[in-house]
């Protein structure tokens, strides 16, 4: 294992950015999704449109925001309104191609918990922020990309609370619940990138990060993870790193 020329945060931001295709409408949250979407916009997807849930569309960010309600998201925006407009006209109308999600727990079908740990949500052991827009993005984006810290306790067989529905119990269960489109496409973690089988919608390992192995990722996962197709995660290019460091986050707000 050699010392990488990039940090784990940079690798994850680049992997997440590559999930965005040019011209797509992207619903980006605070932190890594902002790094990823600003990078995508300046690298391979100049026509992607960034939507922030507090009320803006098509921002041309000059400075990395600390929140989706940051005054910085107004920069160059083509439209500013409120949450209702963004959630309705954007997400619910099916106009958002990709949304980013994160959470404290992720299960094998990409269901996410960002609400509370503990069997009884009325008396949680650990309480988090709650859904925010996550449940809505999970229900209504055309596809989602999940970003998570990869530890065994954070990747359980079932999450304690489904804040953000993924493929639910797999198969066609998501559609049976009344969700007409969407579902998680990728999970970018601190250890690798996971995707979902088209039929069962079970998570499988698509790539492990440089310096790791597929079994090492499986060992940190609380459910059986198919490793058959796993390759090494492609590393960031010099240009991607330059954009991330010099253009997207010269202040080091999120980059480490």
């Amino acid at each position: 294992m050699t010392t990488p020329a990039f940090s784990l945060t940079e690798l994850m931001a680049v992997a997440a950015a590559r999930e965005i295709a040019d011209g797509e409408v992207v619903f980006a949250g605070t932190g890594l999704p902002m790094l990823a979407s600003m990078l995508a916009q300046r690298a391979h997807a100049p026509q992607c449109c960034l939507i922030f849930e507090a009320g803006t569309a098509a921002s041309q960010l000059a400075h990395l925001p600390m929140s989706v309600g940051d005054p910085r998201v107004m920069r160059g925006a083509a439209m500013a309104a409120g949450l209702f407009e963004v959630f309705s006209y954007g997400l619910q109308a099916g106009r958002v191609d990709v949304g980013f999600l994160s959470g404290a727990q992720v299960d094998r079908f990409g269901n996410i918990n960002s609400t509370a740990i503990g069997a009884d949500p009325r008396r949680p052991k650990v309480r988090f922020s709650g859904s925010g827009g996550a449940c809505d993005i999970a229900c209504l984006a055309r596809r989602t990309v999940i970003i998570a810290r990869h530890e065994k306790r954070r990747f359980p067989e079932q999450v304690d609370y489904i804040t953000s529905p993924g493929w639910l119990r797999g198969g066609a269960s998501r559609q049976a619940a009344g969700l007409r489109w969407g579902g998680p496409a990728a999970v970018v973690t601190t250890l690798g990138v996971m995707r979902f089988r088209p039929d069962t919608h079970a998570m499988y390992l698509a790539s492990f990060h440089p310096g790791l192995t597929a079994p090492a990722v499986a060992a940190e996962t609380g459910f059986a993870l198919d490793l058959d197709e796993a390759v090494e995660t492609p590393v960031p290019t010099a240009e991607e790193l330059r954009i991330l460091r010099d253009v997207v986050d010269p202040e080091r707000v999120f980059l480490q």
């Binding site: 005054p71 107004m74 949450l83």
Partner: protein, 323 residues
Amino acid sequence: MPDKLISLPAAAALIPDGASLSLGGFTTQRHPMALVYELIRRRRRDLYLFGHSPGGDWDMLIGAGCVKRVELAYEADEAFNTVGPRWRRAVERGQIEWEDYSNFAMVSRFTAGALGLPFMPIRSLLGSDVLAREALTPEQRAADPRTPAKKAAVIESPFNPGERLVLVPAIHTEFAVLHVQKASPQGTIRLEGQTFADVQQALCAEVVIVTAEEIVDDAELRREPERNPLPYFAVQHVCHVPWGAHPYAVFNYYDYDPRQLKLYHESAEDEAAYAAYLEQFISGVRDHAGYLAAVGGAARLEGLRADPAYGYRPDLKRRRLDP
């Protein structure tokens, strides 16, 4: 038209113990903090808060023991802290009653109230525990008529059998407090930047109190009625409160204060430090002028003032902060 200007203490005095209330803004911007501080100074108790993504406004009220019940989607300051420290503790210790929704569900609930509807349909929540599980018990719901009889209801579309919608119940609060850029003494207001759900929150409240960075002539605001999101008769009281959202941002006026937010979130992780924070900045000062002096006065505040070309402070240091 009648002049609706009152002082901030007079506005806070209107809100009694037990009141239901929503506060404008979103995580790090445009919360009516000066009014929040005044409620804490007045030791308000048993408030019932409705919100989508509040931040330190709620966290401070909860930590100061002012709050009995909340309905919400999110309580944190995003990159400044991914969970509100006092909110987290209050839930874990059973000191507060709450019900979880999503942001879209909560803004749809405010919207339903604003539209005069008993509910709004949404396509979200299906399959989630936000829909399947309730934190409030049926007894708790039944005991307070301000809490809807049900958390939500699922129906089929009469126009396309098999298509499911979630109906989320309208919110009607006794008060809404917004912090805005500009207001006239007559209650016409101007929001700049994102509007969040301020408009709907105001329209589903019985009494709307607006705190404003600037008081401007009504005729000036009427020159561009397209930019005024509320009918003036929806606003009952107007307070002139410059720096009224500190430490949060107000687009075109000032940026958030990263040092103050860091201090708050570090303090709020610890009982004694939190008590000291309240005493130093809120309870122990007389009024908002006292608060502004305590946080560093003009020297600190001028460093936050927005660059007009950006609406925020492009050179603001946000991570490597001076002590």
